[in-house]
């Protein structure tokens, strides 16, 4: 596969100029309908015509790589195809309602949200679901707060959360944000939870064990039933990080494995676009016992089939100003409805097949196994970051690099179910071609992308975070 990314250059100094460099103007604030002392003195902003803007943003889009541009096997981030019809569903006019409308006047909106809650509950094996958290990390924070409120309600204040060393950084940050001490759990020799280490970590202070399953190495925690029993025996709760749920759709459910709380990354598992970093949505499911602690308000269906709000008895309050990222939730609903039972199971089957097939085709060492949706290869003597830069030249987005640290020079790869065999072969070719190259070739990469290798150290040392800070350049 040959590849060259678009590159719009203005001159030797820069690529596509900034809006501010094209044309700026000062706003006319003279006839302000407010006294002078309450208004600003000046405002200078870009001032471009619509055609100029259309070209500017079209050029920027051409200088950006998305799932629709090519393979995006970003381990742990589940970048899969975003169906186009979900965008149309999400912009239906009726969806644009104000969040302070009375529940009586937004029955359709509430019905859709209620149905999505129901779907997610079934998929996760959970009894109650809140859609309020606006992202996966916000879902973690919500789940941690629910666990905290539950323990406190039982007069059982616990100060620690146990998290495997290889877990997502958000787990640690969410636990800390809620005021917990983090107990880091070392991995076992097989890349999974070491039950002895877990036993040692558990105590009367354990509020929660946060786990993803399959874990970030793509390995299923086969001892999950025993793990759940150990945590529960210690008086703790078990939290499921839904980042890797794509591997389990229709094959296993967190609720059945003994998890008490989980979040869903609808922008991963349910193919709602990542939009360059967001918005996502991080609904949280819980077992019955924890439902009274969920954020408020919750949506309930009345005996007459109407929908209404209620505040759970011991609610933690709110984690978002309103009810979360509505447009993202609508897309998730549409995606789940499109797939249904057969599609959901097939998605995980093909995601797992693709990961295992790709792992079998690449020359880098792939430790551990058997794999579910992702695997972590090792770049060995090569620098994984350099490998990634070179892979860009082959027209593929590289894997996640250097994490988890349990594998040296990690290349964490998740092809998802959307790639066909030919594309997987092209991906394998990219891996293998780079594996055979010397350090010099790697250091010179990338050559076919918009920008060449960017000096990230300089960016952090000499901070220029706005066009105002570029004056004179």
């Amino acid at each position: 596969m040959n590849y060259d990314q678009a590159r719009w250059t203005d001159d030797d100094e820069r690529y596509e100029p900034l809006l501010s460099e094209k044309h700026t103007d000062e706003a006319d604030l003279d006839d302000a309908p407010l006294p002078d002392e309450l208004t600003r003195d000046a405002l200078e902003l870009p001032d471009l015509s619509e055609p100029e803007l259309a070209r500017h943003y079209t050029r920027l889009s051409e200088m950006n790589y998305g799932v629709d541009s090519g393979p995006y096997p970003l381990g742990s981030c589940t970048m899969k195809y975003n169906p186009k019809f979900t965008e149309d569903v999400a912009v239906l006019d009726a969806a644009a309602v104000h969040p302070d409308r009375s529940p009586e006047s937004v029955q359709g909106t509430l019905e859709l949200l209620y149905d999505l809650q129901d779907y997610l509950g079934r998929i996760g094996g959970m009894d109650a679901v809140t859609l309020q958290p606006p992202a996966g990390a916000a879902g973690e924070f919500t789940g941690v707060l629910v666990a905290k409120a539950y323990h406190e309600h039982n007069g059982d204040e616990r100060s620690e959360i146990i998290i495997p060393e290889s877990a997502h950084g958000t787990n640690f940050a969410s636990a800390a944000l809620a005021g917990f001490d983090v107990v880091s759990l070392p991995g076992g020799d097989d890349g999974r939870v070491d039950l002895e280490a877990l036993e040692a970590a558990l105590s009367d202070e354990t509020a929660l064990l946060m786990l993803t399953n399959p874990n970030t190495l793509g390995l299923f925690e086969r001892d999950i039933e025993e793990i759940a029993e150990m945590v529960h025996d210690a008086g703790g709760l078990l939290y499921y990080d839904g980042a890797n749920l794509n591997a389990l759709l229709g094959r296993a459910r967190p609720g059945d494995m003994g998890f008490d709380i989980m979040h869903y990354n609808v922008h991963k598992t349910f193919a709602t676009p990542h939009g360059g970093g967001g918005p996502g949505a991080g609904p949280v499911g819980v077992v019955d016992e924890l439902a009274p602690f969920l954020p408020k308000p919750q949506i309930v269906q009345t005996a007459e089939g109407r929908y209404d709000f209620f505040d759970p008895e011991h609610s933690i309050g709110k984690v978002h100003g309103y009810l979360g990222n509505w447009l993202v939730l609508v897309k998730a609903y549409a995606y789940i409805a499109r797939l249904g039972d057969p599609g959901l199971s097939d998605a995980s089957a093909k995601a797992v097949l693709n990961a295992n097939y790709l792992a079998s085709q690449i020359e880098y060492e792939v430790p551990y196994g058997p794999f579910h949706h992702e695997f972590v290869a090792s770049a060995g003597e090569q620098d994984a970051a350099d490998v990634a830069k070179r892979m860009l030249d082959y027209g593929v987005h590289p894997p996640t690099t250097k994490w988890p640290e349990i594998v040296g020079e990690a290349l964490m790869t998740e092809p998802t179910e959307i790639e066909n065999r030919k594309t997987l072969d092209q991906l394998a070719h990219a891996f293998n071609a780079v594996a055979g190259e010397d350090d010099e070739a790697l250091a010179a990469a990338p050559e076919r992308t918009t920008a060449r290798r960017i000096d990230q150290t300089a960016a952090a040392r000499d901070l220029r975070l706005s066009w105002q800070s570029l004056d004179g350049e």
Binding site: Y15, L18, V91
Partner: protein, 446 residues
Amino acid sequence: MSGDHTPAGSPFAPHTAADTEAMLDAVGVDSEAELFDIPDGVGFDGEFGIEPRSERAIRAEVERTLERNDDLVELLGRGHYSHYVPSLVDHLSLRSEFLTSYTQYQPEVTQGFLQALFEYQSLLVELTGLGVANCSMYDAATALGEAATLADRLRQTSGARVLVPEQLAEGRREVLANYVGGTDLTVEEYPMDDGNVDVEALGNALDESAVMVYAENPTVRGCVEESLDAIGDLAHDNEALFCLGSDPVSLALLQEPASVGADVVVGAADVLGLPTSYGMGLGLFATREEYVRQVPGRLVGASTDDTGRRAYTLTLQTREQHIRRERATSNICTNQAWVALRAAIHAASLGPDGLADLAKESVTDAQELANRVTEVVGVKAPVHDRHHVREFVAHTDQPAPAVASDLEDEGYAVHVLGEHHVQLNANALPESEVDGFVDALTEVAR
């Protein structure tokens, strides 16, 4: 595969039977099921009871469901507004290279989005006058929560109080409470006086135990805050951060936050680029350059590439959760980047005069509506003798909940604030709808 059919598997998995067979062979198993390393005790049979549907059926179904919403003219505000969003914003932001990309971990291949976010940051720097803006929080409420944890990290004193106005949107108050729940901070309210900060009462409440003073301009009731300088001075005299809640549209007209001493600006930037969207948001977060290493969330910076040309990259990532883990400045990972892109395109399409005009209209629209409704028998507006932006509080002789409920029957949605107060926002409503509303109010308020 076509959107008109019900899928038999995932419609987005492209495998032919022959490919699947060959791939299973290469892996060395007979079936997909063999690849799942799941103990029998926790296996699941795939029966969720969710029927797959065709694209066409789902579109019709969702449309039908949403038609159950009442068709109301909304005079609701409090942070969410129905500005007209130019078609340009949809068409450009929906370009799939933007929409289907992830966080810019590989900057060389994501220059387009990085530059758009850099431009978004710059726009907020211009509007706030502060040196640093991040490239998004979830919404105004979570941005306020993050501001409090920033104050906690920066605090010089042993104090731990965050002061907020007694008139504050419920969502912001409750989210703030959760964000400070893991710190030693406590949130206290200070009194308001006729829709503005009661500066004397705030002064009495303040001492060195305060780490942050939060005020809003405009306030949640749409009042222009007239004492920003004094509030900023009070905060600084007590070594507290001054955090100002703001609205990017009104910032085109109102006092520049930096000029009144704001150390942090938070707010709902979704007023640009996003319809009301049932409360989906875009959290604005800007602060002084000296605090940049304590900022939550993502920052895009300029650097150069190997050709010497300017290029953009995420920077100061050592603050972030994926590197610093439990010592990160925030747990935020997925943010609202695409909404920030839309906000930037919307602002750019308005230009300086367009944005200023929108801000001016938000003042005159409120004035005009207040003038009209105060003529209605049984209504007096505005309750607060202040300058207003977008919205204002009106007194109703009749109980406000009944007035609001009757208005809803007539096709109009308004906020109820108390026994005899409703809040009204007319920003960007067509004149015919304003006329209709005044007629309806005349019917129900008597």
